[in-house]
Symmetry: D2
Subunit: 305 residues, 4 copies
């Protein structure tokens, strides 16, 4: 398997030239465009790695899968889906239009920014710090990595330039979907996006989802079958931005990407995968990571369809 992964990294390296590193904040722009790495973790406890699998990157939108689980456990599924929908959307991840045209107004799903901000607003805690610490603790347990922390430079950049997210948050407070201090809610959102991880961490999240909410080895139960299945479903229907449908067809694996260059993938009852490659295609997905997952899925017949 290690050899297969090495080959996949090698054969997809050329794709990285065709993409672009995210440029909306300086910290991301400095990434190494041709980095490419993968970690695959299966339920038997095996870890396979190749390429730049231990390089650090910010988790960005991949965090939406984790906060969704926590918000459901904090509030119950019913409360959560009163405020955010379950349907994919043909609009951009940062589009504000449907908030105005959907009645009653609520974001279509928790994977677009508006929906993810709602989810962040539902994380419980005594105060802003407590909320973040609960999230951080949850991520550390899932990944079995106590060293995960935020990248301060990225966090501050996100905060400084996050006006589109502010626009959505204020719109949603205006129509009553979110309550409380908008800057506090966004602060948690910017922090969750700035969590620094590597491919192994992401593979562990995928493994946790594949294992239906039980952390392998520690056997700690942090979520349940229903919640982890729900997350994997959202990954298929809306995990890869406006390329989700195409990815589902071409790869057939539940996956969630982030503009930091990571992709989280999870094969139900089988394995978790973390891929990293900061060169993005025009939809915001890691171009090399997409290629690796496509070939891996074909090679190992991993499609769920």
């Amino acid at each position: 398997m290690n050899e297969l992964l090495e080959n996949l990294v090698k054969s997809n390296k050329k794709l990285t030239k065709k993409g672009e590193v995210a440029s909306y904040i300086p910290a991301l722009e400095n990434a190494n465009k041709d980095d490419l790495g993968i970690c695959l973790a299966d339920l038997d406890g095996n870890f396979y790695t190749a390429g730049d699998y231990n390089k650090k990157f910010t988790i960005q939108s991949i965090s939406k899968t984790v906060t969704l689980m926590l918000a459901i456990m904090d509030n119950g599924e019913k409360e959560v889906f009163k405020k955010v929908g379950m349907e994919p959307t043909g609009d951009a991840f940062n589009s504000i239009i449907k908030l105005e045209t959907t009645m009653p107004s609520k974001p279509l799903n928790p994977m677009i920014n508006a929906g993810a901000i709602v989810i962040s607003s539902l994380i419980k805690g005594k105060n802003k710090d407590d909320k973040f610490n609960r999230l951080l603790d949850f991520v550390r347990k899932i990944t079995r990595n106590q060293n995960i922390n935020i990248n301060k430079e990225v966090y501050l950049s996100e905060k400084r330039t996050g006006d589109r997210n502010r626009a959505m948050a204020y719109f949603m407070r205006d129509v009553g979907i979110i309550k409380g201090d908008v800057e506090d809610i966004l602060d948690l959102y910017f922090k969750q996006c700035s969590l620094e991880v590597n491919c192994v961490d992401i593979a562990n999240i995928g493994l946790f989802l594949a294992n239906e909410g039980v952390v392998p080895e520690t056997n700690e139960v942090l979520a349940n079958k229903y919640i982890t299945r729900l997350v994997k479903t959202f990954m298929i229907t809306c995990g890869m931005y406006n390329g989700s449908g195409e990815f589902a067809i071409n790869v057939g694996i539940p996956a969630k990407s982030g503009v930091g260059g990571g992709i989280l993938a999870s094969i139900p009852n089988n394995m978790g995968i973390g891929v990293y490659g900061p060169s993005l295609d025009e939809k915001g997905n890691s171009i090399g990571g997409y290629g690796i997952l496509k070939e891996l899925s074909e090679e190992k017949n991993l499609s769920i369809f």
Copy 2:
């Protein structure tokens, strides 16, 4: 299994009172609101049935899965997806907005009406009748039922009242996505929607998809793994109208519904299911059929996630 199915039909019968039979054409309005039936066909050749499994109904939007396969085999995947996208949409199945706002203009996917009309326009044939006959032949082979035919009353009703579809077709001809005589293209579309089937026929389509394009028993190869997988993926991401995301979460099975009351479901490498119940929920999906599939999925652990 037969007993389980009988129980599912019984326990979901009450749901039929909460829905409404489609009313946009008289022929559909006359359906028996509390009809409910199911047929399940597995790859071992077993057929299980319960309730009104042999009542006839029109296939409606379920036909979109069949024409998609034929259009891809007629034109190649590349040509087809130049003219229709692969992405789910948060808009209604008959919405025309995205045709104007998407550049270059093309329907987001083949499961919404605009996309399905494009697909119908791509079916090859010497003339209008030849095109329909090729489609009919394809359906009859997949279902192993030579008696399938159109319901003339429904067909004529669809034709008479299909102005929204005409609007979309003319818009698409204006921007160059479809070519040829619009009424001829729509005639094929209305005919495909008016094909009369029962739960066994639908289960057979599901079985064909589960079996990756090979007709069981006859072993005739009518499609391939890639095409049938693609269809199942579209069923998950956009098969149940604006309730696709929720259905994927709650049921987790590739499915396609029609306003005639049918639902086609396919469990990869396992089985095909046809359900019929003309009482629809507010999204246009069979309300009793949805309930049956949900319980069946839980009972037999059929979710692909």
Copy 3:
């Protein structure tokens, strides 16, 4: 005055190079790009002309002002505005979006295509020919020109390529705003757009509006103060496509343009103006005609504001 007009034609001639002749149908494409002419008719019976004032061109969207008057007289204001609104729109003249998003669905005003098609559908007559003949008769009386007729080549071209208009018409029949045979309604619409006129004819329409519905000289009363004022108001708020607001600010005269290159202008209780210049700006308004009207308004202080 004749000298002033000659100078205006001369000084604005250079603008014609910056625009483009309408190209969606061949007949329009053949127009002489640097043609430019004007006719000004005042209530004292004076006619002033300059440049290509007697070249023929098709009236196109300018006809919307005339059919609106006829439809109101045929049906009453109340009936007409049940089916079309009175408000300007920020969308394109051929946009279909608002038909789907406005509830109850009706075109925002009679100057955009959808609204004008509704208006055409309201013209009374025993049959399709009778309706057109009534309209033709009305136009001939207003212009005091019995020779006005349709340009067959343009009419047939419009009919052949009018799919966007068909899309809107079928959409509107689907939601119940228009009734009857869509092709018949569009036939009248395409014919009204294909009426062939020159600057003198257009100036006479403007004079008729300025004179509150009374034909000068013949003193025939064909409309009334309220209707002609209503038309002039629509000309200010939505007469110049997506440049209506800017034109109102820069010129301040009620005006309606057509892609044939004509502009109709009317100064209340004062004069009517017809301008012709087939070179269009990016909004579809005669670029030279706009320039002439702007300078003329400044020179003679014609703004109504």
Copy 4:
């Protein structure tokens, strides 16, 4: 004239029962629903009044006319209209959709909230207070009323509940239309809306516009012909929210309304009118004020069309 105005107030009093007082902030909700008053000021120096002409109310959106003039004088017309358009819109005054769909993104006109916020951001001054004081000074000079000030309660309410405006402002900062501290810009916007005036003040603004930028009596020149004409044009095309087109047809006078219940009207080279009646129709315009202006326009033939 005083008698005519008295009669108009009396005859339109019954309309106030059909409307509703603005309820989005408590301070507005406390207004007297059946208040109705008018002041008419002509260029000969006459002032005519009737009803509750001296009751105070907050100027709200009427302020958009004043800030527009100041912003143009501060920045030049060219700079201002780089950032805001000149076209009317069929969307609601607080709609955010067009900001996302228009490319390059800019509000369609300065009379909708997004456009007015841009305009406020362009008012010059050393700091936030200086900017407001310059605006206040401008308003006081135009109205010849040194006692005009903000209603603190309304101002604080607006600030507390202005999340929709915040959403638009952050969106616009994200796309680069506005620069600087959003809360500071909105503070000026909320303050300008909270200026407390009566019908006489509003009539004076109308008179100033009618007099082309010269304050009567003092003869102070505060604006010019072009700018005041531009404002009157915007009042016709977009001054009465989504009822602008209908008002232009029915009344034919440049007018701008505010949800405080005021309407500013200006007859070019003739007179200014201020009307007050806090009972609003469903579009947000004073229902009694609309009625008075309609009858007055008919009686005195004031339509500009």
